[in-house]
């Protein structure tokens, strides 16, 4: 069996796809992950177009207690979302992938905020775009994150 040009093309395309596959969740949230905000956003967005809006990120404007800050992310139709706290020691806070049984593309939880910062949420849409939401939060008592 000889390797045709088509075979070579297909193999290289697959290799490229595997290489471009998203980072595994465990690696993303490892304490050794010192990725900056720009690097995280670039890794999540890839070659897709990035636009502000389309993600509703709900946080209190003033967080009295940085150990427990309620946060809600909603991005109707999104495949997955990523929550980033640029002022925390480990920037990625939460990733959510919505499956076929999801009733909405929304998730609420409680997060730690080490200091006053602009919290970022990114959402990958099925048509290819990435939406970004931003919410500044004033933190009174920083939660060691």
């Amino acid at each position: 069996m000889s390797l045709t040009r088509r075979d070579t093309m297909q193999v290289s395309l697959w290799a490229l796809l595997c290489f471009a596959a998203p980072v595994r969740a465990q690696d993303l949230f490892a304490s050794s992950n010192s990725a900056t905000l720009d690097e995280l956003v670039d890794a999540f967005v890839g070659a897709r177009p990035l636009a502000d809006g389309g993600v509703s990120l709900t946080l209190p404007v003033v967080a009295e207690d940085g150990y427990r800050v309620p946060v809600s992310i909603e991005a109707t139709g999104a495949e997955d979302v990523l929550l980033i706290a640029p002022g925390n020691p480990v920037l990625p806070v939460l990733s959510a992938r919505f499956g076929p049984m999801a009733g909405s593309q929304a998730i609420s939880t409680r997060m730690r905020l080490a200091q006053t910062q602009d919290v970022v949420a990114l959402a990958r849409m099925p048509e290819g775009a990435v939406h970004r939401g931003l919410q500044p939060v004033s933190v009174v008592i920083g939660g060691c994150a």
Partner: protein, 109 residues
């Protein structure tokens, strides 16, 4: 962290076919971030729940990757579709390799 872990799940016992329900989950866990120092100045090793998975009859509802930025006793609220009667399963994955699971069946009216 195998001791003192308790899971709690709240969802309706029954729903109409095709209805969207809200699910609330909580697991009691320290969520030690790995950035704190003990009184002797040594870093306390990280010990967190790093993943949460909810499925309905084998189909994914939501799959969460969790970092040390999530608070102690991780709480999650999300929504699921109930296509028919079945069982929701919930799994929390601990850094120490433990997997805590819970399940709830739902009937359709």
């Amino acid at each position: 962290m195998a001791s003192g872990v308790k899971t709690r799940v709240k969802l309706p016992k029954q729903a109409r076919a095709g209805e969207v329900i809200t699910i609330k989950t909580l697991i009691s866990h320290r969520m030690e971030s790995g950035h704190r120092l003990d009184p002797s100045g040594q870093p306390v090793p990280r010990s967190i729940i790093h993943r949460f998975l909810c499925t309905f009859e084998g189909e994914t509802v939501i799959d969460l990757g969790i970092g040390p930025g999530i608070s102690t006793n991780p709480f999650f609220k999300f929504q699921a579709i109930v296509p028919g009667p079945g069982v929701f399963t919930f799994a929390w994955f601990d850094d120490d390799g433990a997997i805590y699971t819970d399940s709830r069946s739902i009937t359709v009216i």
